[in-house]
Amino acid sequence: MAIREVKATRSELMEVKKRIKLSESGYELLKKKRDGLILEFRGILERAIEIRERMGKESAEAEEKLRDALCYEGSLAIESSALAIEDEPEIVIRSKNIMGVVVPIIEATRVEKNAHERGYGLIGTSSRIDEVAKAYERLLETIILAAEIETTMRRLLEEIDKTKRRVNALEYKVIPELKEIARFIQFRLEEMERENIFMLKRIKAKE
């Protein structure tokens, strides 16, 4: 609302004052929400860092095992074992609500399997291949966890950004403007009062 369009009346002043009060309480609430979100975020961040570290370690381990197996068994044997695996891991993405932010929960099925569940024959393949498969299954679990938590973080960050923008808009734009308007009306009303008194005095003097 531009200051020029304001009608300097008492009711308008009351209206503006009411809006200031509303904005201020909204501002307080949003600030609390922002702080809450950041708190939530910090907890998740810790877990995310931990999971990333674990993922790095597990992927290095899995790669090493795979290299070993490639040396001993040859790529053909491993390739054929891979082809024999029937059960594809599946994920289901559901959603959860953290302080009004919709975040995903990823559930995985059929990731870690027993040796006999994998589908390739036990005879004819070595335990090294089992080891590699196990290592990669574990890595996959961690990756799924990382996917969930990192997406959660991105969503939370978006919400933090939005809330921060609103808080700042209220603090630096909306509330100061409203206060400015209230002051303007106040001055205007006082000015009118003085004019009135002056006029009355002049009328009295003429009598």
Binding site: I78, E79, I85, P89, I91, V132, R154, K164
Partner: protein
């Protein structure tokens, strides 16, 4: 939903042993970009795993764009890539680089 893998021959082979059927073998970062684009068009894909070592050489803008993707969620495994954009976002939103 399914999980997809894009990476070098050995990289994908490992994940195939874990049962993944949706994969693309690539040998260069240009190939990788193309493969990732194709994978992202795939329906019913929930998570896309990409090899971090190869991804490092991809164009930065493209990498950041796919890191932000939520459908599917793209995760880089191996190498240092994958968390740059997230780190940057944290720095922008919270004000400090908390990722340490």
């Amino acid at each position: 939903m399914r999980i997809g893998v894009v990476g070098s021959k050995d990289f994908t082979l490992g994940f195939r042993l874990a049962g993944i059927k949706l994969f693309k073998e690539v040998s260069s970062s240009e190939d990788m970009e193309r493969a990732i684009k194709e994978m992202m068009g795939e329906k019913d894909i929930g998570i896309l795993i990409a090899e971090g070592g190869l991804a490092e050489k991809m164009r930065r803008e493209f990498r950041e764009e796919i890191e932000e993707s939520l459908e599917p969620i793209v995760i880089f495994v191996g190498g240092e890539t994958g968390i740059e954009s997230l780190r940057e976002r944290i720095r922008l939103s919270v004000g400090v680089d908390l990722w340490k």
